[in-house]
């Protein structure tokens, strides 16, 4: 087994990056708390719009805050779970190549004071962020991905959720002509996912529009997708057309098709087993040896408080 040299973190980066990232994440937690308190504040005015542009180009060898090297672009764009195209992870890239993701509209509504439909340019004007996150698939493999996009809380504040809004419901484009996998009737299309409002407002939760500083490719959920790094990958719904604030817990596609296997929360949890895959360990793509899976995918310091007092075995 050969690991390309680009996958190995140079020592100076290994030692230098984690500290600053960790400090960033600590403040991120505080910011998220503040965001929560202001969630119901009157409509939010977006300051100085700036176009999405990576602060610095993403390069192989960069690491996340734990010192894990980012996964190669080729792996990220050629090993995908996107059942709207095919269930074959390797074939998604090929089958999605002709998918046209522009123009695109994201309808944000439901229990909000200012429902609004955003086009991509409007979304790009919302303060851009760059995040390197671990992505842990429920199938027990993982990657480290450099995302660009916007925090979901910024978008939600623009539409101003009403006080009755307790959850956020997301929907993928429903169009079997463009997403041929949706002709497979064994799934209750469209893909639906949901978050509790506090999870959605958490600063770690982003809507991604790019990877490696480049616009998202169709196989990764172009043009805009959710990224919730402490939950299994399937929660991070792709190619979103609809975001709705709702009062009741949304029923996701996976909850509908396998209620005993997939719960609403789907937090990465090495102690809660899944009938098919080991959740206590995982294979990082590019590595041979399994590594132990971390509670909340390593984001416990930032998100564990969201679930204080909850039985995570029941709320899986």
């Amino acid at each position: 087994m050969k690991i390309p040299s680009s996958e190995i973190t140079p020592e100076h980066i290994y030692h230098a990056r984690p500290q600053s990232r960790r400090r960033f994440l600590q403040t991120a937690g505080l910011v998220a708390g503040g965001a929560l308190l202001s969630a119901c504040a009157p409509s939010y005015v977006e300051p100085s719009p700036t176009p999405i542009k990576p602060e610095k180009p993403v390069t192989a060898g960069q690491t996340d805050e734990l010192g894990d090297a980012i996964t190669g672009y080729d792996a990220i764009t050629n090993y995908n779970n996107f059942y709207e195209f095919t269930t074959d992870k390797q074939a998604v890239a090929r089958l999605s190549a002709g998918f046209v993701a522009e123009p695109w509209k994201v309808q944000v509504g439901g229990l909000v004071n200012n429902p609004k439909t955003f086009d991509l340019d409007e979304l790009r004007k919302i303060t851009p962020v760059e995040r390197i996150y671990r992505m842990r698939c429920v199938e027990a493999w993982s990657m480290v991905i450099p995302w660009s996009g916007l925090t979901l809380n910024r978008l939600l504040k623009l539409v101003d959720p009403k006080s009755e809004a307790k959850y956020v419901r997301f929907e993928t484009l429903l169009d079997p002509t463009r997403l041929p996998g949706q002709r497979d009737r064994s799934f209750p299309w469209p893909y639906v996912e949901g978050l509790r409002l506090d999870e959605a407002m958490h600063d770690l939760t982003i809507l991604a529009t790019g990877i490696y500083g480049k616009p998202l490719l169709p196989q990764n959920g172009a043009p805009i997708r959710l990224v919730v790094p402490w939950k299994y990958g399937f929660k991070s719904i792709k190619s979103i057309t609809k975001i709705e604030l709702v009062a009741d817990e949304p029923v996701s596609l996976w909850m509908k098709s396998g209620p005993s296997e997939y719960g609403f929360y789907s937090n990465v949890n090495p102690d809660v087993s899944h009938p098919r895959w080991s959740q206590s360990s995982e294979r990082r793509i590019g590595e041979v040896i399994r590594r132990r899976t971390l509670m909340f995918n390593g984001y416990a310091d930032q998100v564990a408080s969201l679930y204080a007092g909850m039985d995570l075995r029941k709320n899986y």
Partner: protein
Amino acid sequence: MLAWTYAKITKRPNLMVFRIFVHLAAVLPLAHLLWDTWRGNLTVNPLQDWTFRTGDWALRLLVASLACTPLASVFGFKQAITVRRALGLYGFGYALLHFFIFVGVDYRFAFDLIWDDLATKRYILVGLAALLILIPLAITSTRGWMKRLGRRWKTLHKLTYLAVPLAVIHYIWLVKADLRDPLLYASIVTLLLILRLPVLRTQISQFRQRLSGKFLH
């Protein structure tokens, strides 16, 4: 043994061609897997490819071995019997490889993790059961054991009818969404087992003989 095979083969060249074909067909998937590994043709998750492909071929070859008897007794393709044991052993070989890739390469003998999986994942339990059942069958597959066990040999080797369905259940339980492939295996195995029912076996072969009789007259 060799002399016996040689004598048999020289008398029936077609049988030789058939048997060589079967042996090649059984070894090629492994060669292909090694080739793909060497050439870097696997996915970014190569261990999963090894696991899946050895598992797939274990099941295919075991099912093929299970097909030999009905092919001969019901459909009159007598040559099939000559490769039944080889197919079963190849299937067992791939299953063993599949097992060692899981335990030794994937989990690096981390028995705490393996134990976790064994305790919580029913598909691993039935997969292991299938493999354990196949071990005594592989050991007693030689001519010597056949003689030593006499009539009991046949009874013992009926355990295949348990092992192969368990392997299919292993496949059904591990699949996340698309059940088409495992259910295809399930229906083929069910059919192969049904064809062994004495009533059906005689009915079909009589029907077949009547049919060929018609063509003869």
